[in-house]
Subunit: 123 residues, 2 copies
């Protein structure tokens, strides 16, 4: 119902980002609408790449007095900067890798890609 794996839910419970679930008399966990909503919130945040500690903070802010939008925005921006940095690095990596693979196009016995990786220089 939340789209979160059952093992992951229990992990979240251990981590304290969702409350200890109510139990049936035999000890099985029971979840209500509020629990499911919270799990969906957590899932959306995870899908956006927020860390578990960040999500904890977001949950605290959302439970807070209401004057927290600036804090939420700050956290979001910080995360966005991180994502952009990663995006940039991954782009560089992609170009380097594509260039390396491209050299292998002509059929030959020696391997330009390996040679390049094995070369002395860093250039």
């Amino acid at each position: 119902m939340s789209g979160v794996n059952i093992e992951t839910i229990r992990y979240y419970e251990r981590e304290g980002i969702i409350p200890l679930a109510d139990r049936t008399p035999s000890g099985r966990r029971l979840y209500g609408d509020a629990d499911i909503a919270r799990l969906r919130f957590v899932k959306r945040c995870r899908d956006l790449g927020f860390s578990v500690p960040d999500i904890r903070t977001l949950l605290e802010l959302s439970a807070g007095n209401g004057a927290s939008c600036a804090d939420v925005k700050a956290l979001g921006e910080r995360h966005l900067h991180g994502v952009r940095r990663k995006l940039d690095e991954l782009g560089k990596l992609e170009r380097a890798l594509a260039e390396l693979v491209r050299r292998c196009d002509t059929g030959r016995t020696d391997c330009p890609m390996l040679e390049r990786l094995l070369a002395d220089s860093d250039a």
Copy 2:
């Protein structure tokens, strides 16, 4: 000399992607040019995002008979596809996150970002 952290070198030794280093009589590791070159190779591969098992394969291929360029290329392409997939996902994530943060621009007491994350729908 290789640019690889000393603890990481020992980890690589444990993982078997570099050979057990020679030792001084007192038991300290000694590295020659070949060891350093191998470490630099490993570092370049890691910087390109290859996994340790992939690097093991690349090292085996580079030590092989020479007819391995096609295999190297295949491994490189496979990795490149993975990188492009990640790049794509990260780009989507960046757009979604930027949109969420942008909504917070107007100063207000409620928080559009939190509201969106808390909303029932997945849209």
